[in-house]
């Protein structure tokens, strides 16, 4: 299990979501979830997205955030996110 120390947001983090037509998980909400109780799901394949982070915003929204690895150990890039459907947690 790698360390999850720092999170950096992709420039199009919110745009990726709006382009797909979803209700946007804002940068601030994902950052709040990052600093709360969170669950990491590992991608078993060699893809850019190495982990999904499941967490909750202060408002109680369950969200899933896609994490890309970086060259800096412990630092991750939040690529996009979505509201986790009820039952997925």
């Amino acid at each position: 299990m790698p360390s999850f120390d720092d999170l950096v947001f992709h420039p199009e983090f919110e745009a990726h979501q709006s382009t797909a037509g979803r209700r946007v998980v804002a940068v601030g909400e994902a950052d709040d979830a990052w600093h709360g109780q969170r669950t990491f799901v590992r991608n078993r394949r060699r893809r850019a997205a190495q982990y999904l982070m499941l967490g909750r915003t202060p408002g109680g929204r369950a969200i899933t955030v896609v994490l890309l690895g970086t060259s800096i150990p412990g630092t991750w890039v939040a690529y996009t996110a979505w509201e986790t459907k009820t039952g997925d947690l």
């Binding site: 720092d6 797909a20 997205a49 997925d88 947690l89």
Partner: protein, 135 residues
């Protein structure tokens, strides 16, 4: 936190799917939970700017002996402090013989010298002369 269950990715765009992959790619059963670290006072995010703007930021940073990040952060702080206005408020300094020296800031107006006796600049303008509207 409850155990994570496999999700559907139906709501992702094709571009997102190319990055994220398929639900079956993920080890849902092996999900691990942890509390996040204490929240620091900073959050990192990146922004996309065109080369011209980056060049201008670099020029300002070099001239001031600071980093591009310092310049960008300071400009963002000013933007926020200005209530989201995109630039420093436009300031007009004008003079009217009957009103004195006026400093007009976008969205506001301050009258520094309300009458001829207190407006020293007023003495240089003969009565009846056309008043310069803007200096």
């Amino acid at each position: 936190m409850p155990e994570a269950r496999e999700q559907t990715f139906d709501h992702l765009s094709p571009e997102e799917r190319a990055v994220v992959g398929a639900p079956s790619d993920y080890d849902w059963a092996g999900a691990t939970s942890a509390a996040g670290s204490a929240r620091p006072n900073v959050t990192q995010f990146s922004i996309r700017v065109d080369r011209a703007l980056l060049g201008q930021l670099q020029a300002i940073a070099r001239a001031r002996g600071v980093t591009v990040s310092d310049v960008a952060r300071e400009s963002l702080e000013r933007y926020v402090q200005a209530g989201g206005r995109p630039a420093v408020a436009h300031i007009l300094v004008s003079f009217k013989p009957d009103a004195g020296l006026l400093v007009q800031v976008e969205g506001g107006r301050a009258e520094l010298a309300a009458n001829r006796r207190t407006a020293s600049v007023d003495e240089r303008v003969p009565a009846g002369a056309p008043a310069p509207s803007t200096y």
